[in-house]
């Protein structure tokens, strides 16, 4: 049998053997040949050493917020609706908007009713009522004090 190390096809076979992907038939053939071929045994040992070394190289786990960051980037690149551009334009006029609101508030204050139009309270109503009572009582007192008509002969 031709040594596996002599051509690319043989190297492929040895590689598959070392990575445990060769068919059972190929495995048997390689192992039978390797018993008598030092070159193949050396290559197999070296390649298995490479695979074992590479197996020790573990990759770290993916960050927990990977998806969140990705979706945020996707959202940034989505075309915005037309009305958002209009709103963004409005946001540039914030000082004017604030001034307008201030004027509206001032106008509201100016249009509010003045102090003379304040409705009467119950206290004022009670005072008037008392005053009328006092007037009526005073008039009755005056009637009592008026001279009485004279009495008949003795």
């Amino acid at each position: 049998m031709t040594c596996f190390t002599k051509n690319d096809n043989g190297t492929e076979i040895l590689l598959d053997y070392c990575s445990a992907t060769a068919s059972p038939k190929v495995v048997t053939a390689v192992e039978a040949h390797a018993q008598a071929c030092q070159q193949c045994r050396d290559l197999i040992a070296a390649q298995r050493g490479v695979f074992e070394s590479l197996d020790q190289w573990q990759a770290p786990e993916v960050s927990a917020n990977f998806d969140q960051r990705l979706y945020a980037r996707i959202a940034e690149q989505r075309p915005q609706p037309f009305w958002t551009a209009w709103f963004n334009g409005i946001s540039l006029w914030k000082p004017a908007l604030a001034g307008g609101l201030a004027c509206a508030a001032l106008a509201l204050v100016l249009l509010m009713p003045g102090p003379h139009e304040v409705p009467r309270t119950d206290a004022s109503k009670r005072i008037e009522h008392v005053d009328m009572d006092q007037v009526e009582q005073a008039l009755e007192d005056l009637d009592l004090l008026a001279p009485q008509p004279a009495a008949g002969p003795m």
């Binding site: 690319d8 190297t11 492929e12 590689l15 990575s19 290559l43 040992a45 070296a46 390649q47 050493g49 490479v50 695979f51 074992e52 070394s53 590479l54 020790q56 190289w57 990759a59 770290p60 786990e61 993916v62 960050s63 990977f66 998806d67 969140q68 960051r69 990705l70 979706y71 945020a72 980037r73 996707i74 959202a75 690149q77 989505r78």
Partner: protein, 218 residues
């Protein structure tokens, strides 16, 4: 972008014929496309939940592939985001002319090789030295490997990473895909857009180089 869409349940899995019927203008051969390509076609049709499923399935292997290419976790995640961003952006033009993973890893390879070429990755001697023990505490006197053993392991890992890092771009891609992604020769060749014989030649040269550099570690 709304909150992450809920993935569909098994009850929503449709047969190929139903998918073909649901998407007007679909070619008959689409009925035979593999599952990932079906999901991508749904993304093309506006189903963002299918994109979430593809992300869930391929996030880890993509990040790990890129990590072994650039050997920096932060950069690898940034590049992985770029990969999935490109997948999403090209959804409307997607055609299942090849396996989805072939297309996906072609993007990964392109992004990784660009990064390496442009020197954008933050790989440095510092990151190589810190890699194995990054974020870990050294255990002492508790039955686990001693500090000295940890340091030896760290040195060994540094040599392994340096050996891979020294490989030319396409050889590195071939080794990472073959060894860590478990891809066969045909799949790697399609991803690298070369013949299978060319890919094997590339891979054998890469492993020969690694055998030479890592012989003293065996």
């Amino acid at each position: 972008m709304p909150d992450r869409p809920q993935p569909f349940t098994d009850s929503r899995v449709e047969t190929d014929m139903e998918v073909a019927a649901a998407l007007p203008g679909m070619r008959p051969e689409v009925r035979e496309v593999e599952h990932d390509a079906q999901l991508m076609l749904r993304v093309r049709a506006g189903d963002d939940s299918s994109f979430a499923l593809l992300l869930d399935k391929h996030r880890r292997p993509v990040v790990h592939f890129l990590y072994r290419m650039v050997q920096n976790q932060a950069v690898s995640e940034e590049l992985a985001q770029e990969v999935f961003l490109r997948v999403y952006r090209s959804r409307e033009r997607y055609e299942p002319t090849a396996k989805f993973t072939t297309w996906l890893y072609r993007i990964c390879t392109h992004v990784a090789l660009n990064s390496i070429r442009d020197g954008k990755n933050e790989k440095s001697q510092k990151s190589l030295d810190n890699g194995p023990l990054e974020g870990r505490e050294i255990q002492v006197d508790d039955g686990r490997p001693s500090t000295e053993q940890e340091l030896l392991n760290q040195a060994r890992l540094c040599e392994i990473r340096a050996a891979v890092d020294a490989l030319p771009g396409k050889q590195r891609v071939a080794v990472v895909m073959h060894k860590f992604e478990g891809m066969d020769y045909a799949s790697i060749a399609r991803t690298l857009e070369c013949s299978e014989s060319a890919l094997k030649s590339l891979l054998f040269r890469a492993y020969e180089t690694l055998r030479g550099r890592l012989a003293h570690l065996v």
